[in-house]
Amino acid sequence: MNLSVKIGTIVMKNPVMTASGTFGYGPEMAEFIDLNALGAIVVKGISVRPKQGNPPPRIWETPCGMLNSIGLQNVGLKAFLRDKLPFLRKYNIPVIVNILGGSTEEYCNLAEALDGQVHGIEMNLSCPNVKSGGIMFSSDRALFTEVIREVRKRVKRSTLIVKLSPQAPVRDFSIIAEAEGADALSLINTIPALAIDIETRRPRLAKGIGGLSGPAIKPVAVRMVWEAYRSVTVPIIGMGGIMTGEDAIEFILAGATAVAVGTANFIWPDATMRVLKGIRDYMQSHGIEDINSIVGGILWEG
């Protein structure tokens, strides 16, 4: 049975990876699972300088989902390379670093510093561009195009992954990302959402709007993966509410070559292993020799 998949030049022993921001930098999870069993690890988004993140409360539970507004808290590039990466290098798994910036320049600096140091660089573009008054890179065509183009020039050895936001039209933005040289796409990021405490009349999160993740968004994510799959030829990493192997198979049938497990890690620290086992079981019971054979295997023309 072949579970191995390829994302750009990254060869993964299986299609199960972690979703950025839901797995820390690895050590905490190593208490619960064998990291070597993962297809790849994607770490929490890294910025040039360390970030303190938002004040609490940062999370709120919603029906079948949760909102978060962590505020990009991270140790920063330098500390990541010095303190976090060595730990991950001890394992025999591809490391993908999620990067975030407030300007094209910051993305470029991160890309340059990480290129060749890690297997993959995932651009989290759901960040406001500081110069253009807070417009998101992920939803503005011009910003989106430019930042990918510039980063592409700097990424020569690592695989470049562009993460799509559910707020922009999937087709158009997938096509732009591919045209600008993304080696792979990942989607979806969380959906902006708001919950209000009707007693205090304040948002449930200190920062107001947060990102919705978890099972609630799964059907939206599957649709978007399917739309992206129909629009581009680069491989797709699907995510959004994956809790089980069955969920993962749904994404794979919709067109995902690999899947990332996010919020589920909070419910079961060994969620990635459960998903992996579920995929294996499905392949076994359905006589599927190679997972790649069912990527985009949905029987529907759209």
């Binding site: 921001g21 839901t22 797995f23 820390g24 905490e28 999870m29 208490e31 619960f32 929490k44 303190q52 993140g53 938002n54 004040p55 609490p56 409360p57 940062r58 999370i59 709120w60 539970e61 029906p63 079948c64 989902g65 949760m66 978060n68 962590i70 808290q73 978890g214 099972p215 809790m243 919020t263 890690n265 909070f266 419910i267 079961w268 620290p269 060994d270």
Partner: protein, 251 residues
């Protein structure tokens, strides 16, 4: 090592219309929890509610672990529905508990409402004489009194804001009074968020020897989501890893 497993419900003891004691069978190979540490609990297969809920260890023995739970919203309501023989998902023990008193220190335990949960275990762990201040808005917030009264070697002082039981006032009033009498105290506090906020304002308490268990909403409980960030003098700390017990002087 922290464990993630299914635990069988041994019993559920209803203490009031809002409080109950959940006793779980915990396999013998599980690590012994420290007072102040907590477990994450989840039940059922529904994704609503989705997240696990954190509960301090109230009591434990070789083959069981007890949690004192207050019904608040949907998660605790759901836990109230479990019955003997059912299995619940648990992860733990998690976080850093209370440090035990050093020789010569006078332990003072201060609990508000459901905050008594980790202090009960702490009181049982401390085998020297201790002072325990327990309070609530009114007498019906004083839960598990039968258990608390049985702790040995304890000078128990009860407070209620409405005077319906014990001394009229708050445990913090009581604490101040105790501190004027006691020589080298070590104080352990657990109570509602509001009480912790008040505490932070009490400059005379800003010594090294005050330990507070704080609460913040949690998603993972194991340090990976950064959801439970709590601002401290040294920046954001994770309640689930660096806490839930902090020195008051750090906050």
């Amino acid at each position: 090592m922290t464990k993630c497993f299914k635990a069988e419900v041994i019993s559920k003891e209803i203490l009031s219309d809002r409080h109950f004691l959940l006793r779980l069978f915990i396999p013998a190979d599980s690590l012994r929890p420290r007072a102040g540490q907590f477990y994450l609990i989840r039940t059922g297969t529904s994704y609503d509610p989705l997240l696990r809920r954190p509960f301090s260890v109230f009591n434990w023995d070789n083959n069981y672990m007890e949690f004192l739970i207050m019904k608040k919203g949907r998660g605790t309501e759901q836990l109230l529905q479990v019955s003997k023989g059912m299995f619940v998902d648990v992860i733990g023990p998690l976080g850093r508990g209370f440090p035990l008193p050093e020789r010569g220190q006078q332990p003072v335990l201060v609990g508000g409402g459901i905050g008594i949960a980790p202090l009960y275990l702490l009181a049982r762990e401390i085998d020297t004489q201790k002072i325990m201040l327990y309070g609530g808005k009114s007498r019906d917030e004083l839960i598990a009194m039968e258990y608390i009264k049985m702790i040995g070697d304890t000078e128990l002082r009860i407070f209620t804001e409405d005077g319906s039981e014990g001394i009229k006032g708050t445990v913090l009033d009581g604490l101040r009074e105790v501190l004027t009498d006691v020589e080298s105290p070590v104080v352990y506090i657990c109570g509602p968020g509001q009480m912790i906020e008040t505490l932070k304002g009490l400059e005379d308490l800003r010594t090294d020897e005050v330990y507070v268990s704080v609460e913040e909403r949690m998603a993972c409980g194991i340090g990976v989501c950064l959801g439970c960030a709590y601002p401290t003098r040294e920046g954001m700390k994770r309640v689930c890893i660096e806490g839930p017990v902090f020195k008051l002087s750090e906050l």
